[in-house]
């Protein structure tokens, strides 16, 4: 019975990768940053295949309001190639680890003109079919409080206080009941629980 199960699972594991051979790329959805700061845009992928030596990463950038995108980073053949002519020359750095499927880049000294969409595309031959993933960069003068943070904090604090009050109330009732029990026992004699009770009180 067990051997049949083991055999079936091995066969399934062998079959499934052949059918779902698509690479899945993960980046963030949106990133907020302050003017003048640095930001790390992360990109990683999931693939059923082992990480090959020919793994490639590409980052392209489309400014807000622009119609087309330009490539700003490419990693291939084991070497990274950063932007040396475009809007990010001298400001882009590769901080990823392709062996660990990480193709993250670091943008330095951000400006309002860097608002836009960054798209990461990764290929892990022979696993090359997949969708590129985009992350939107928003540059602020002052990072605004995200919607709902304070709302949630206030509601959580008040309800937490309520729960605390209820718990303390029932705890006090429980303790008072126990104290009464200890008092009545110690009156009869200083043995066993009575002694324990007085020691506890001290």
């Amino acid at each position: 019975m067990l051997t049949i199960l083991a055999l079936a699972s091995v066969i399934l594991l062998g079959i499934v990768p052949q059918q779902s051979e698509a690479i899945v790329i993960y980046t963030g959805w949106e990133r907020h940053a302050l003017v003048g700061s640095d930001i790390r845009l992360s990109c990683s992928f999931f693939s059923w295949r082992w990480t090959s030596d020919d793994v490639t990463f590409s980052w392209s950038y489309r400014a807000d309001g622009a119609r087309d995108s330009i490539y700003v980073f490419h990693y291939t053949g084991g070497a990274p190639y950063v932007d040396n002519k475009g809007p990010f020359r001298d400001r882009l750095e590769f901080v990823g680890n392709p062996g660990r499927r990480d193709g993250s880049i670091l943008l330095k000294n951000l400006d309002y003109g860097d608002n836009g969409t960054f798209t990461c595309d990764a290929k892990n031959p022979p696993d090359i079919v997949g969708r590129a993933s985009s992350v939107r960069l928003l540059v602020f003068e002052k990072v605004p409080i995200q919607a709902g943070v304070i709302t949630g904090a206030i509601i959580g604090a008040v309800l937490g206080l309520l729960v605390l009050v209820v718990v303390i109330y029932y705890l006090m009732r429980f303790l008072v009941a126990r104290r009464v029990f200890n008092l009545s026992v110690s009156k009869h004699g200083k043995k066993g629980k009575g002694k324990e009770g007085s020691q506890q009180r001290q």
Binding site: P144, I145, Q146, A147, G148, V149, I150, T151, G152, A153, I154, I155, V158, L159
Partner: protein
């Protein structure tokens, strides 16, 4: 006796419904072409009707939280009322129910006050307050009266 009970429950539920409507409907301030509330700033421009999320400032989030808390406390108060109806001894007071309802009314009041004071920062000064804002102010005394009645009421038979 039953009539009194029914009346009190109807008052409580009326306050609860007013709180719900006030929190949800988009009519805290209205202008000739726009309306805004705790959650959205909507306006009809040349391109049509479109809404943007309300300014994510600290104060409007505090108002959101206070309105939601008042709804929650009013719900808890209603639930406690039915609990206490069946478990309270004869002659006992619906103290806990009343306390929660009074808290709900205080939250609505503070929410409405904060909104009144801070609204010039997120809507145009020329816009008038809408009916959802008025309903919030009406819900406050209703909830307060309902809470006080609970505190004064004594259970009979």
């Amino acid at each position: 006796m039953l009539l009194l009970l029914l009346g009190i429950v109807i008052l409580h539920i009326a306050a609860l419904v007013l709180l719900f409507v006030s929190t949800i409907v988009n009519a805290w301030t209205t202008g000739s072409t726009s309306s805004s509330d705790l959650w959205n700033n909507c306006s009809t421009t040349n391109g049509g009707y479109h809404c943007a999320p309300a300014n994510t400032g600290e104060w409007i989030q505090a108002v959101q939280a206070l309105m939601i808390l008042s709804i929650i406390f009013s719900f808890i108060s209603l639930f406690l009322f039915f609990c206490q109806l069946f478990t309270l001894q004869k002659g006992g007071r619906f103290f806990l129910t009343g306390v929660f309802q009074i808290f709900a009314s205080l939250f609505v009041m503070s929410g409405a006050v904060i909104y009144t004071v801070m609204s010039p920062t997120w809507v145009h000064g020329s816009e008038a307050f809408g009916w959802a804002y008025i309903i919030a102010w009406v819900a406050f005394p209703l909830a307060l009266i309902s809470g006080l009645i609970y505190v004064i009421l004594r259970k009979r038979e």
